[in-house]
Assembly symmetry: C2
Homo-oligomer: 141 residues x 2
DNA sequence: TATATTAATGCAACTTAGTTGCATTAGTCA
DNA sequence: TGACTAATGCAACTAAGTTGCATTAATATA
């Protein structure tokens, strides 16, 4: 997980402008410990008195995705997409069906075994995967 | 994977009516070797000269989900939801980024190891999970 | 087989999430 | 400080799915 300054420097070096909306969006996403929807992001911005236009927010999210700064997540139990700042390591989510909170998990060893298996038995080359666990968190059990 | 007759008998026993739309939708879903979107389902029905109203199709999909006959799948690379008849065993998908085809995979041993790990380290009780692999199929590599 | 009951249907109008075109604004560099 | 153009914001649009309500038809019963 990078710091705000690092991200901004990287963008600046790439010839992109550091606007109020851009900076604030990255700040909000960095501060949120769970992935935000576009709507949630707009609310957070308005809460910080940062003008947040829907079009701008969606366009900026597309941009930040292309830059590899944020990633988009689609949870099965929701219609909307969520966004989070890309983490150092690839990780997954624990989604509590009680309180709807989302936590991150990193898994040891990952799914390489399965990916090899799939390659061998099907000739299918896995390039990426998504994995989400649904259940009940400690508080909701 | 159940046969059409079985499914219809089960519904009938439950006091639900066997209508043309209901029978045809289950038929189409059983025949499709990949999960269908609502739109794809409507097209398939029209192709069979079965009148297919959007509202009816969505309502029937909701019903079939509630009955545990079909399951809804959300792929990360798509906006729409897809539906498939529930299989005997829990399974996952291989999504080809080239030709967009979807194949099923069943994994040995599954993710129990991770689910135990998550329970032990976080106190989070996993009840369900989703796992999709994105990559290139044999033909597209 | 006819009839009553109500599950299922279908239209139209709506909602939600996200997108597009285009004129305007504001970062950045010289 | 000004020129350049990336980024913005409005309004209008699209796609996917939903809702209310009057109508139709599957089934049980007489």
């Amino acid at each position: 997980m990078k710091a705000l300054g690092e991200i901004l420097a990287e963008l600046s070096k790439g010839g992109f402008r550091i606007t109020r909306a851009r900076r604030s969006m990255i700040e909000v996403l960095l501060d949120s410990r769970l992935p935000l929807s576009a709507e949630g992001l707009i609310d957070a911005l308005l809460g910080k008195k940062v003008p947040a236009n829907k079009t701008t927010v969606y366009r900026e999210l597309t941009f930040l995705k292309e830059m590899g700064i944020v990633q988009e997540i689609q949870f099965l139990h929701e219609r909307v997409k969520r966004y989070e700042v890309v983490f150092g390591g690839h990780h997954h989510h624990l989604i509590c069906m009680g309180c709807k909170r989302v936590e991150d998990v990193e898994l040891e060893g990952e799914l390489e075994k399965y990916e090899r298996e799939i390659m061998n038995s099907r000739g299918f080359k896995v390039l990426n995967h998504t994995l989400e666990f649904m259940g009940l968190c400690e508080d909701c059990r």
